[in-house]
C-alpha cells in the first residue's frame, strides 16, 4: 500500500526535459555544419585582390610570352642558318681561291722551272757554241771566230732578254692574280661582315620585339587592373610607339639600337622600382631584367621554360588567391548604408602555415564602419590553410598581399 501514497514530484520530469532539450541542441549543433556544406554561398559582393590578376589574364600573358619566345627562337634559328650558310659559302670561296692560288703558283713554278731550264740550255748552248767557236777560231781565222762569238753572244743576250721579258710578264700576271685574290678576299670579308651585321640586326630586332611583347603584356596587366578604357588607350599608344620604334630601329644601325636598349634598361629599372611596391610585379620585372641581362641566346632558350614554370606557379597561386577572396567575401558582412563606391584596401600578412599575422588598413574608405567590416571579414576568414598547398617557391610571395573591398554591383 505504501506505494500509493507517494505523489509524483516535478524534479525528475524537469531533469528529463532539460536533458532532452540539451540533446536536441547538441545534435543540431553537430549536424548542421555538415548539412550546410553543400550549398556554397555565392557572394555578390566582390573583394578584389589588388596585387594579383585573374587567371585568364595570367594565361593570356603566359601564352603571349610563349609565342614571343617561340618567334625569337625561330628568328635565332634563321639567323644561325644564314650565318652558317654564309660561313659555308665563305669557306667554299676561300678554298676555291686557295686552289686557284695553288694552281697558279704551281704553274708559275713550272714556268719558272721551264724558264730556268731554257736559260740553262741557252747558256749551255752558248758555251758550247763558244767553245766550238773557240775551237774553230783556234783552228780558223780570228774574225770568223770573233764573228761567231759575237753572234753567239748576241743570240744569248737576245735569249736572255726574251727570258727577262717573259719573266716580267709572268710577275705581272702573278701580281694581277694576287690583286684579284685579295680583292676577292676583301669582297668575301665584306660580304661576311654584312651577313653578320644582318644576322645581328635581325637578332636585335627579334630581341627588341620580344622585349616589347613582354612589356606590352605587363602593361596590359596594369591597365586591366585600372580602367578598361585606359588600357585600350594605353595599348593603342603602345602599339603606335612600338611601330615607330621598330621603324627607327630598322632605319638606324647599331648605335640607335644600343641607345634603345639602354633606354629600355632604364625603363626597366624604373619599372622595377615601381614593382617594388607590389611584390608580384617586382617578381615579373626581375625576371624580365634578368632575361635582358643574360645573353640573348640563353634568354631565348630559358625563356619558354621559365614562362611555363612561372605560369604553373601562377596558376596555383591564382587558385590560392581565389580561395582567399572567396573566403573573405563570404565572411564579409557589409554594414548598412554604405555608399556604393566606397573602397577600402586591407593589407594582409600571413604566417607560414596561413595563419593571420596582421591585417591593417592600407587605404581607408573614409567610412570607419566599412573599414572595420572589411577587417573583420579578413579576420573571420583566417586562417588560410591553403597557403601550405602552394609550391614553396611562391609561398613567400603570397604571405603578404592587399585586398581591396568595394561593394560590387548586382551580378
Amino acid at each position: 500500500m505504501a506505494r500509493h501514497q507517494r505523489r509524483v514530484g516535478y524534479g525528475l520530469p524537469l531533469l528529463l526535459a532539460i536533458a532532452l532539450h540539451l540533446g536536441i541542441l547538441v545534435v543540431s549543433v553537430i549536424r548542421f555544419p555538415a548539412a550546410e556544406e553543400e550549398p556554397p554561398n555565392r557572394a555578390i559582393v566582390q573583394a578584389t585582390l589588388v596585387s594579383t590578376e585573374t587567371a585568364t589574364d595570367r594565361a593570356q600573358r603566359a601564352e603571349e610570352a610563349k609565342a614571343a619566345a617561340q618567334a625569337a627562337k625561330q628568328a635565332e634559328e634563321e639567323a644561325a642558318k644564314q650565318a652558317e650558310e654564309a660561313a659555308a659559302k665563305q669557306a667554299e670561296e676561300a678554298a676555291e681561291a686557295e686552289a686557284r692560288e695553288a694552281a697558279r703558283q704551281a704553274a708559275e713554278q713550272a714556268e719558272e722551272a721551264a724558264e730556268a731550264e731554257a736559260r740553262e740550255a741557252a747558256r749551255q748552248a752558248a758555251e758550247q757554241a763558244e767553245e766550238a767557236a773557240e775551237a774553230e777560231a783556234r783552228e780558223a781565222a780570228r774574225q770568223a771566230a770573233e764573228q761567231a762569238a759575237e753572234e753567239a753572244q748576241r743570240r744569248a743576250a737576245e735569249a736572255e732578254h726574251q727570258a727577262k721579258l717573259r719573266e716580267e710578264r709572268e710577275a705581272e700576271r702573278q701580281r694581277q692574280a694576287e690583286e684579284e685574290a685579295r680583292r676577292q678576299r676583301e669582297a668575301e670579308a665584306e660580304r661576311q661582315r654584312e651577313a653578320e651585321e644582318e644576322a645581328r640586326r635581325q637578332r636585335e630586332a627579334e630581341a627588341e620585339r620580344q622585349r616589347q611583347a613582354e612589356e606590352k603584356a605587363r602593361r596590359q596587366r596594369e591597365a586591366e587592373e585600372q580602367r578598361r578604357r585606359e588600357a585600350e588607350a594605353e595599348r593603342q599608344r603602345q602599339a603606335e610607339e612600338e611601330a615607330r620604334r621598330q621603324r627607327e630601329a630598322e632605319e638606324q644601325r647599331r648605335r640607335e639600337a644600343e641607345a634603345e636598349r639602354q633606354r629600355q634598361a632604364e625603363e626597366e629599372a624604373r619599372r622595377q622600382r615601381e614593382a617594388e611596391e607590389q611584390r608580384r610585379r617586382e617578381e615579373a620585372a626581375r625576371r624580365a631584367a634578368e632575361a635582358a641581362q643574360q645573353g640573348l641566346d640563353q634568354a631565348i632558350a630559358g625563356e619558354s621554360e621559365s614562362v611555363a614554370n612561372s605560369a604553373q606557379a601562377q596558376e596555383a597561386a591564382n587558385g590560392f588567391i581565389n580561395l582567399v577572396r572567396q573566403a573573405v567575401e563570404q565572411a564579409w558582412a557589409i554594414p548598412p548604408n554604405v555608399t556604393g563606391n566606397a573602397t577600402a584596401e586591407i593589407r594582409v600578412r600571413l604566417g607560414p602555415s596561413g595563419e593571420l599575422f596582421a591585417a591593417s588598413i592600407g587605404r581607408s574608405s573614409g567610412d570607419s564602419a566599412f573599414d572595420r567590416s572589411a577587417l573583420q571579414a579578413v579576420r573571420a576568414a583566417a586562417p588560410f590553410a591553403e597557403l601550405r598547398e602552394l609550391p614553396s617557391s611562391v609561398q613567400r610571395q603570397y604571405r603578404e598581399f592587399n585586398l581591396r573591398f568595394q561593394p560590387g554591383d548586382i551580378r
Binding site: H4, Y10, P13, H21, F32, E36, N41, Q330, A331, G340
Partner: protein, 229 residues
Amino acid sequence: MNDAMSIPHLIINASGVVQAVMLLLLLGSLLSWVVIFQRTFVMRRARKAHRHFEDRFWSGVDLNELYRETPSEQETLGAEHIFRAGFREFNRLLPKTRSPQAILDGVQRSMRVAWSREEDRLNLHLVFLATVASSSPYIGLFGTVWGIMGSFQSLSMAQQATLATVAPWIAEALIATAMGLFAAIPAVIFYNRLSSESSRLLGKYEDFAEEFHSILHRNLQGRGDAAAG
C-alpha cells in the same frame, strides 16, 4: 560560412524581439516537456493503483476490513479514494437514518465529490499543454514576421538588394517559427494521448462508483427488508 549560418550563431545574432520570442518558446517547450513527463508518470501510477485496488476489492474481502486497511483520506488515490469517501459516508449515515434512500443519496453525493477531485487531479496541467500546443506556432510566427520586418527595414537602407543580404535575416527569422513548431508538435501529441488516458481512467472510476453504489444498495435493501420483516 557554415559557422555564420549555423543555428546557434543565427540565434545569437537575432534581434531583441526575436530573441525574446525564442526564449519564450524555449521556456514553453521545456515546461511542456516537464508536464508531459510528469503526467505520464502520474497516469502510469494511477493505472497500476487502480488495477491493484480492483483486484483487492473483487477478491471477496470484507468491506469493513478493506476500509480499515486503506490509509487515511488525504493519501488515497483514484478508485480507493472514491471507495473510502463512499463507505465512510455510508457508515456515518447508517446509524442516523432508517431511510435507505437518504443513505444512498448521501453516499452517491460523497462519491461524486471524490470523483470530481480525482478528475481534477488527473487533468492537472493538461490545459497548459493544450495552451502551448495551440499558441506556440503563433508566437513563433510572430517572431518570424518581426524578423522579416527588420530584414526589410535594413534592406531599404542597403544599396543593393541581394539574396546574400536578405538571407541571414530570413534564416534567423524562420528559426522562430521552427522553434514554435518544435514546441507545439510534442505538446499536441501528448495532450491528446494524456487526456484520452485520463478520461479512460475517469470512466473506470465512474464504473467502480456505480458498482459500489449497487453493492451498498443491495445491502440496504436486505437490511430494510429484515427491519420491515
